[in-house]
Subunit: 319 residues, 2 copies
Amino acid sequence: MVEFTVTILGCGSAKPSLRHHTSSQIVTRLGKLYMIDCGEGTQMQLMKYGFHPGQLGNIFISHAHGDHCLGLVGLLSSLSLDKRTTDINLHVPSDFVDILKAQIDFFVTHTEFDIRIHPIECQEPTLIFSDQHFDVTAFPLEHRVPCYGFLFREKAGSRHIIPECIQQYGISRTEIERIRGGGDFTAADGQIIPNEKLTTPPDPVRSYAYLSDTRPVMQYADLLRGVDLLYHDATYCEGDEELACKYDHSTASQAAEFAKVCGAGKLLLGHFSSRYGGEDWLLERALGHFPRIVLANEGLTVKITDKTDTGPVFVEWRR
Amino acid sequence: MVEFTVTILGCGSAKPSLRHHTSSQIVTRLGKLYMIDCGEGTQMQLMKYGFHPGQLGNIFISHAHGDHCLGLVGLLSSLSLDKRTTDINLHVPSDFVDILKAQIDFFVTHTEFDIRIHPIECQEPTLIFSDQHFDVTAFPLEHRVPCYGFLFREKAGSRHIIPECIQQYGISRTEIERIRGGGDFTAADGQIIPNEKLTTPPDPVRSYAYLSDTRPVMQYADLLRGVDLLYHDATYCEGDEELACKYDHSTASQAAEFAKVCGAGKLLLGHFSSRYGGEDWLLERALGHFPRIVLANEGLTVKITDKTDTGPVFVEWRR
């Protein structure tokens, strides 16, 4: 199964603390990088964890609160100083476009690449991006300002050809591609070998959903049904539901309940408040609602495996 | 002599690297904090080195390049989230005012304090700020955009009363203040004791100058004559004068030459380019021009002593 990971660059809420940077993460598939949110200091976090900013092609911003986007202008400025020539695409809520353009015009000068801004404005889940790796769907969350969740769904892969069949039937390279696409094979003696005898099914299509910042949004249980990894706002701890509701956030336990209702494979909790001095207590309470949870942390990489994998969440550290 | 220090929060040039943050530093006198420049991530650096952002009252921005000011909006936003109620003063070049206001209006909401913006625009050295600790003079540097140096000059202190005299002549508390201001004392028997017999002179007035980013500016040798500590742009190494000139910066050796011409007490080199992979070579060459140099580094605090102190530069680390 090809590499599909998410790495946390920052998972603190509102303002940075000594424990956590503000929100940003990197989704990778087969070495291609996608950024979600870009809080202050994200470009330093990218370097710290060994990512090359030059490899970024698409940045998705959930909403225009500073802790999710104040690192964007500095990052773009550094890309310009690096003499980047490849265009970069920014997918941002439409209310962020004017001030973003004003900042770029002022701070990001002498670029040899285009900064393409793609405004997001939708009331229903909407496909906003597609390439050879992913379809990305945006859907409005419940927060103080226009705020969007993102669902990264892998493109369906090809069927896998059974290596022994290639030699057995003398299948050419050109034919292999056709067979991976589902075609049968006509052997030299005219015999037709059906595709099912030559191939095994493609890898399951995996998906990753990012929901921050938001109140619980049960209306998306169908959209996110069976998502393999769910990142969810866990600003507050169980017991602080009133505060969570007042400030348009969620408790870790509400996030866990949502993961259960969606039938998510695994849950990644983030956007932590500094008020609790740590996240152990959030986790303990949330585990009462859903078993497969990992706490986000700077430098943590989570491999996105198929949801049928009910083992422990596989993580590794980049530091 | 009262505490008067400068602490480096960032001393890298153009874009952050794994070695250095972008420009920012804290000047302190008797516990009061002043910030000069505020590159991206400055609020995290403040926390890392144990400063409380709430104690900041005045921030001086040299120029509107991102590496000197992109941390300002995030810092202000955090001050607002901290429920600050004391006004804050931003001293910024006038060409930065419009975009700064636009960013503040968008990102820094629900403040319970005023953000007072004081535009700097001058062709000659001009006093831009004065309080009980300092007179701050701005002077235009030679850079691609309007850019100002800052000279922090301590307010003259009072004379020191000789402790033994207080008991000998029965001097009251009220009289002490008057005598520290220079007054004579009339004893109980009518005898007039001249001030010189009761006091020693005030501490020498110390000064700190910040010059970044700039080409060498020999025209300020008189203004900065005898400055106790000089922070100077040292983006390039001796031998790269052409590059330094082209991009409106200085070499470390040009900075050292300037320190010598000014008769500076000590020189603090900063705004390092990542091109050299380190600063040892810059220092070695610069020491050929001026003997008392320290390389800036994140977390380094330099105590500003009187220029008659020709010993080694006294520094300490906050980490």
